[in-house]
Structure formats: structure tokens, C-alpha cells
């Protein structure tokens, strides 16, 4: 049984999509950095719901744990450490920059929209059926773990080096007197 066969799923998709877009718009327009961050949390939670509706159960869980749980708490910690929460001076750029932003965002959005909406743009290689078969055989974690530790093993090990470098870099940067 597929979750997306119900019209209710479509309705829920629209609810979560509008929460995502609303949260994103709140993020880029709020003056207070903490309000902005909380809107971003709303965006990330709604994205986790959308991932789950798309059948990526593990990615949905990781989105909540890693993004909403770890990365955004790091942001919140930094904002509160630097005591920026009650600095309501607007940091929006002036007139010409707003126009540039709208033109750039509009053209990028338009190009992507046209690319994705063209009939036949997405080649269906029955991935959905293969993922469903994998989930029923290996469950939601195993279906990602198997290619991760088999086909992408080198990339996975390089990821650990990347994280090590990032940790050392962060410690060095924040310890050193500038």
C-alpha cells in the first residue's frame, strides 16, 4: 500500500509545502536573527514531513535529528553567544540590491521551474518500485546503508576526513586570538 495513493496525502503535501515556503520567507525577512532561525526550524520540520511523504523515511528522521537538532542549535548557540538576539537594527540592503535579488531569484527559479515542468524532463526508471522493494526487504535504514557501505565506501570514508578537518578548523579558528 502506498502512502501517496490517498488524496489526503496530496492535501497534506500542500499544507507542508506552504509551511516550508512561509518559513523560508520568514527566514529571509525577519529582522531579529532568533525569529529568523525559528522560521528556519519550521521550514526544516516541514521538509522532514515532505521527505517522509516522498518515501524517504530515514532521510526524514535524519533531517530532524541533524538539521533541526544539531545544526540549527549550533546557529542558535552562536546567536546567543554573540548576544545578537535583541539587536533590531535592520540589516536589509537598499533599493538596488532588492531589485537585483528579485531578478536573480526570479530568473533562477524560472529556469529551474521550466526545467522541471517540461514533459519528459524526469526519466522514470521505476526507482519508486525498487525503493519499495528494498524497504520491504532491508527496512528503511538498511536500504540506504547497503549502497552507502558498498558502492560509496570511499566517499563515506572521505566524509570522515572532512568532518575531522572541519572540527580541527573550527577549534583552531575559535581559540586563536585574532
Amino acid at each position: 500500500m502506498n502512502l501517496t495513493d490517498f488524496p489526503l496525502a496530496q492535501l497534506l503535501w500542500w499544507v507542508f509545502a506552504s509551511m516550508t515556503v512561509g518559513g523560508a520567507l520568514g527566514t529571509i525577512t525577519r529582522k531579529n536573527p532568533i525569529a529568523s532561525l525559528l522560521f528556519l526550524v519550521l521550514t526544516f520540520f516541514s521538509l522532514a514531513a515532505i521527505y517522509t511523504m516522498l518515501g524517504a523515511y530515514f532521510i526524514g528522521a535524519v533531517q530532524v535529528i541533524v538539521y533541526a537538532g544539531a545544526i540549527l542549535v549550533l546557529f542558535l548557540f552562536t546567536i546567543m553567544l554573540l548576544n545578537l538576539g535583541h539587536q533590531y537594527r535592520s540589516d536589509l540592503r537598499g533599493g538596488l540590491w532588492i531589485v537585483v535579488a528579485f531578478v536573480a531569484a526570479g530568473s533562477i527559479g524560472f529556469v529551474l521551474w521550466r526545467a522541471f515542468m517540461t514533459p519528459g524532463a524526469v526519466v522514470q526508471l521505476d526507482g519508486q518500485q525498487r525503493i519499495a522493494a528494498g524497504v520491504s526487504e532491508l527496512n528503511a535504514v538498511g536500504v540506504i546503508a547497503q549502497p552507502l557501505f558498498r558502492d560509496f565506501l570511499v566517499a563515506f570514508e572521505l566524509t570522515s576526513i572532512l568532518l575531522l578537518v572541519a572540527i580541527i578548523g573550527a577549534v583552531l579558528l575559535s581559540k586563536r586570538r585574532v
Binding site: 521550514t43 549550533l74 554573540l82 526508471l125 528494498g134 549502497p147 552507502l148 578548523g169 585574532v178
Partner: protein, 101 residues
């Protein structure tokens, strides 16, 4: 109109990405610039997940790598922001003109 939520999610990812671009262009607070970059990374993740319905599980594996890079980027970027804040007492990018001519 009854549309496949996979294709709708691709459109949603385009919308999220352009909102992130707009935010990076018209905000000046360095921390909010990082948030907009996270927003763009999430838009790409959404496109990967939506395409994994057509192509296979590899899209979801790539999301895993993108999340790792995002975590590393956030750690180093926020350390840089703290370092700059200690030096200049502000996170507003209009005050950082050391490398600008």
C-alpha cells in the same frame, strides 16, 4: 489538478532555492547569510529525494553526503563568524571591507 507529488516537490525545491538566493543577496547579517545557504542546501536535498523516486536509492545516499558537508560548513562558518565578531564587534558584512578595493 492531480499532480505527482514527486514533480511538485521538484518545483518546491526550485522555489526554496530562489528564496535562498534572494536572502543571500539582500541580507547583510553574516549569520542569516549562513541560514540562507542552509536553505539552498536543503532545496538541493529536496530535489535529490524527489528524483530518487524516479532513479533509485542513490538520490537518498547523496542527501546523506550533502548533510555531512552542510554540518562541516556550519561548524567552520560559525567559528569564522565568532572570530570576526571578536575582532570587529559586529556580524554586519558592511563593516568587513578588509579584502574589498
Amino acid at each position: 489538478m492531480q499532480m505527482d507529488i514527486g514533480q511538485l516537490s521538484l518545483v518546491l525545491s526550485a522555489v526554496l532555492f530562489s528564496i535562498g538566493v534572494a536572502g543571500v543577496i539582500f541580507r547583510r547579517n553574516a549569520i542569516i547569510l549562513f541560514m540562507c545557504i542552509e536553505l539552498m542546501l536543503n532545496a538541493v536535498n529536496l530535489a535529490f529525494v524527489a528524483l530518487s523516486r524516479a532513479v533509485g536509492i542513490e538520490g537518498q545516499v547523496f542527501v546523506f553526503f550533502v548533510m555531512t558537508v552542510a554540518a562541516a560548513e556550519a561548524a567552520v562558518g560559525l567559528a569564522l563568524v565568532i572570530s570576526i565578531f571578536r575582532h570587529a564587534e559586529t556580524v554586519d558584512t558592511k563593516n568587513f571591507n578588509l579584502l574589498r578595493w
